[in-house]
């Protein structure tokens, strides 16, 4: 189990496009990947789930992955957050 806490740095928060990016990235890995925001816990491979979190600017999320490629998966998703999803 690998976990990592990230902060949303792009102004618009996680809307449809960043959500699609996260889901696409998560789907490349075999591990089970979950994203937690407060009490909600969603599957990172589902776009609608990620959008449902309604994660806005500066909110803090936790990425958890479990499986054979968990470290790579968490790293790849974390770098999306770090790069502000290639936005502003």
């Amino acid at each position: 189990m690998t976990t990592k806490t990230v902060t949303i740095k792009n102004r618009a928060g996680i809307h449809a496009r960043p959500a699609a990016l996260i889901a696409q990235t998560a789907n490349r890995f075999a591990s089970e990947i979950l994203i937690e925001r407060e009490e909600t816990r969603i599957n990172a491979k589902s776009i609608m789930g990620i959008i449902t979190m309604a994660a806005s600017y500066n909110s803090i999320l936790t990425i958890c992955a479990e499986g054979t490629d968990e470290k790579e998966a968490v790293g790849a998703i974390e770098s999306l957050f770090e790069n502000k999803f290639e936005e502003d």
Binding site: A16, S46, I47, M48, A54
Partner: protein, 210 residues
């Protein structure tokens, strides 16, 4: 101030509070209503949950929630499922199409806000080494918040029409609740038939095939 009697008021208040503070869990899956029964479709990402639900909607059934289903356990015995978010609810993501709005595409008749989870259908990739239920006499259940829900394990492979299987499962479940259990009834009939045949054999011989 309320005009209600204090006994009436407190019972309403308790009911509302127990609904609000009911145990909740959020599950990755799709909740649909098929012939009046709430079916929670589970399975790994990409196994075809959303496509199955879409086909069911097309066939006149209803979508409750896609992807994130929030389930709360009321009174310790009924599981009520609904979408996590009303604003973006009743949208679905279909690979190759993107995000679609079910309410706009199929009309308000094709959606509903909440529905009790009455069957769990777990879709899984066909595994040649796994033994799947062939008779339907065994009843599997899944534990959700302490409630045992009937569970079906449905192997998926190209050419298998999962929506029709789910429709049939819903009707079969309704039959069961009305007291008719197809698989058990069938077995009873087989047993009876064997008995009568075996009983007749000593008197008539076995060559009565004219």
């Amino acid at each position: 101030m309320t005009g209600l009697d204090s006994s009436e008021f407190s019972s309403r208040l308790l009911r509302i509070l127990s609904n609000i503070f009911a145990p909740k869990v959020s599950i990755h899956g799709v909740l649909v209503e098929v012939y009046g029964l709430g079916i929670l479709i589970l399975g790994d990402s990409g196994v075809g949950k959303s496509e199955t639900a879409l086909e069911l909607i097309e066939r006149g059934h209803r979508l409750v929630a896609d992807d994130v289903v929030e389930i709360s356990c009321l009174n310790g015995n009924s599981l009520i499922g609904q979408g996590a978010n009303k604003i973006i609810g009743h949208h679905m993501e279909i690979r190759g199409l993107g995000i679609i709005n079910i309410t706009q595409l199929y009309g308000v008749g094709s959606i509903r806000e909440r529905k009790e989870v009455q069957i769990v259908a777990k879709l899984e990739e066909w595994d040649a080494n796994k033994v799947y239920d062939r008779l339907g006499t065994e009843e599997l259940t899944m534990d959700i918040l302490g409630v045992q829900v009937p569970k079906l394990e449905i192997p998926v492979k190209p050419g298998r029409n999962v929506p029709i299987i789910l429709e049939t499962a819903a009707m079969n479940e309704r039959l069961k609740s009305m007291g008719y259990f197809s698989a058990k009834e069938f077995n009873q009939n087989v047993l009876k038939w064997i008995e009568t045949d075996a009983a007749r054999a000593p008197y008539y011989g076995v060559d009565d095939s004219y």
